[in-house]
Symmetry: C2
Subunit: 485 residues, 2 copies
């Protein structure tokens, strides 16, 4: 392990991260908010740690291997989480450091769960910092899964990728930098367009910026206690629906469409399936609302569609108190929390590509009962999927469900009822945000114990890094200096 | 497809099945119960259908292939379910035929869910028929998975089996018959010993026989409304705990131990893991009961152990109203419902062998992030597991969870609350019996709508036949006469 290289890269990352704290700091300064000192102190601490790490690394060069990449990824998420919590903690916005860490992890993982019951009394600079963590985390995850992780076979994007996984080489580095810059451009473009549209729909600049950050990242933090419900504005909801759907799409498609100036990339099986899932779920929930809940058709369409896209993309915005809806509609939303959006998007969950692949493969493998030596050969978008990829996807599914079960039992141990425990874990692991019951659309995670919050923090990070990326660090051979890899 | 052969075998099976109805019929005759006419009519109908099928088959010989085996298995479960429902329906014990079918499927799949609120007012002959369906179903499933299905790679028993899957050959037929007879002997031996012990513990002959049938099959029907709670007898509970644990073990081990007169076969990883799961779950639940429920240590040990073995084996006996327990203990029981007992036992669920295999494989495959061409080679009991077997196990897991999710949504559509819907489906798919909430330990499935009952009937059959065995019939090529297999 080239610790020196890892330290240098993480140091530079923290220096850059500290500079993003300048944005809320400037706002606090001009608004004369007391939180300016908390933000300044957080910025200085973050910058100092970054500078010290960068300055006191042992050597200035070295080889970047796969193991270094994993340590950098995990280190980046942990360090930015720990330091991103400082503004919340120092400003006194939350009672304990664990609460601040929860808020920071929830921001950076684009989960959007909050432990703050009344966000409207917080300084606007602190609210802006919350939204910035979403925006940075959303972009971070796209770069991670589109650019870095396809090489490892751990993500789901590689399923559409004919490239053979392998270590990063010096040769591919310039291309990677270009791709990253284009991705940032697309992401920023979406954000700016959304800010403009929200302003046009009547939001003030502060709310427009914050909600745009929360939307493009599929994050879900709001500057209002009642989320999007606060505005009760059909135009705002419609705009957000469109951009939340965009947030749930694969950025590889956007990248191709952007560089080739063509809409052809959207003829992608996963993307089409994603739209079909949204339409079918919306119709089912509309049916459920009509039949058992005496709602008008326009209420049903508006809120069913809003909550379906909000849940399947794991954004977690709330347009109405869906916790009062009939059980079948809640269970459909609950299942959507597990499915998630497309691979290579800012959304959480298992990802539609994985579920599609497993469904196709299972159907194909039923023939094994007739022909025991049968080998499944399935294709996605015309490209054959190799057996190793299918294998990793099915283990991902097993791990996801297994971690869900264990975490649910742990959370239930803190006193939550079964459905509350399940939905708090599903919402955290899937980076959704709000769930049902005591962690429902009109409540927060404040009432959960510190142990419970710690479990959920771990769930958010595991879900965000798609399990394997973190869990690989548990393998003892990962840390052996003399390695056969 | 050799329909003639299938028809002949199913005909003979029904003739044999009709003869088992003689047992409750004789009881009804001597007890002068009005149900004697219902039983006689059911017997005659079943016997006639069997005779007609056997008599009017086209040819008297033919080749038995894999496809014929699958049709016979599915046909046997469906026909015995439909005809086994007749006594309940004709005797008026239940209001509709769907209710009767629910009771019959629940019996034959050894689920033990009931739609009858007050079983104590039923004629004893009808209760005995319920228990007999358990006993027959339990034996049927052992023969199916130990003898027939290992050849297909669909079951979990083959994971411990070095034999290469392949079609049944004439050469192996005599050996299969011997094995089947030995299995029946062991099963009958357990039943008789249990009847003796329950008599010694103070039960009358009728209750002892019925509960013995329900226990060795991991079924769970009781002749008392409050199940084992009715007796409040520590000796009875202890005896049942031991035999329920036996019911959850792999009959391949019992077969080896029986024929070799040795205890060595029990040094089996799955069996040991099974015992460890029971011990750990019991300790966790005892802890939960002590800390949050103010129960005495002996209450906690007694009922925690009873409910853990009852749930992990999917027997579904009840020694106390565990629905009043704290959430964490209920969630542990809920997870146990999914895990199930050992492969090749009478229990339902996913089976411990499958979960073990997936956990081992996942741990091993984490290295793929370091070495993308890594191939996992894992062993169970020293025998290497081939990649195809691991593949089938992970698809089984995916299918099980997927069917659980879909059925839960369907059941919620009939008006059940989320947790009630989940537990009714988990209890049916895992062949457990009672769940939580409105299908809890002190209630029945009577309040569920006919559509809901139909969904649960399908879940019971799918779970009992381990999904693939039924689902393969959905593949169009299965039914093509000219087949390359
Ligand atoms: K979110
Ligand atoms: K059962």
């Amino acid at each position: 392990m080239n610790y020196s290289l890892v330290q240098g890269i993480l140091g530079r990352l923290l220096i850059g991260y500290s500079l993003t704290m300048l944005v809320p700091l400037i706002l606090a300064f001009f608004s004369k908010e007391s939180s300016q000192w908390a933000l300044l102190l957080s910025l200085v601490i973050t910058a100092c740690i970054g500078l010290l790490m960068y300055r006191f690394r042992e050597s200035t060069d070295g080889k970047m291997g796969i193991r270094e990449s994993f340590v950098i990824v995990a280190g980046a998420w942990f360090l930015t989480s720990f330091l991103g919590a400082l503004p919340f903690w120092i400003s006194g916005s939350v009672p304990t450091y664990i609460d601040a860490l929860f808020e920071s992890v929830s921001g950076l993982t684009t989960t959007g769960s909050s432990v703050i019951n009344d966000v409207e009394i917080l300084p606007s600079s602190i609210l802006l910092w919350r939204s910035i963590t979403h925006w940075l985390g959303g972009m971070g995850i796209i770069v991670l899964f589109i650019i870095l992780l396809p090489k490892t076979g751990f993500g789901a994007v590689h399923l559409f990728n004919a490239e053979v996984p392998g270590p990063l080489s010096k040769r591919t580095m310039p291309r990677i930098r270009d791709t990253a810059i284009t991705l940032w451009r697309i992401y920023t473009f979406f954000t700016l367009v959304l800010i403009g549209l929200l302003l046009a729909a009547g939001l003030d600049l502060f709310d427009a910026v914050n909600h745009a950050f929360s939307t493009v990242s599929a994050g879900g933090f709001s500057t209002k206690n009642t989320s999007i419900m606060h505005y009760n504005n059909l135009a705002v909801e419609s705009i957000i629906i469109v951009f939340v759907i965009i947030a749930g799409g694969n950025y590889r498609l956007y990248l191709e469409a952007w560089t080739k100036k063509s809409l052809k990339p959207f003829r992608n099986t996963e993307f089409i399936t994603y739209l079909i899932i949204i339409i079918v779920s919306t119709l089912l929930i509309m049916g459920g609302l009509w039949l058992t809940h005496d709602k008008t058709p326009d209420y049903a369409l508006r809120h069913a569609l809003f909550q379906v896209v909000s849940m399947v993309t794991g954004t977690g915005f709330v347009s109405t108190d869906y916790d009062l809806w009939p059980a079948i509609t809640k269970l459909i939303l609950f299942v959507l929390m597990f499915i998630g959006g497309c691979a290579g998007s800012t959304t959480g969950g298992m990802k539609i590509a994985r579920i599609m692949l497993l469904a196709k493969h299972t159907w194909s493998m039923l023939t094994r009962g007739l022909h025991p030596q049968a080998v499944s050969s399935i294709k996605l978008d015309g490209k054959p999927i190799n057996a190793a990829a299918v294998n990793m996807v099915s283990l991902f599914f097993f791990l996801y469900v297994g971690i869900f079960a264990i975490a649910t039992i742990l959370i239930a141990g803190t006193g939550l009822e079964p459905m509350d425990a399940m939905s708090s874990v599903a919402a955290s692991l899937g980076n959704v945000g709000p769930g049902f019951g005591i962690v429902g659309p009109t409540t927060t995670f404040a009432s959960i114990t510190l142990f419970g919050k710690s479990v959920l923090i771990l769930c958010m990070l595991l879900g965000r890094l798609e399990l394997f990326t973190l869990l690989i660090l548990l393998r003892p051979e990962f840390w052996k200096t003399k390695s056969r890899w």
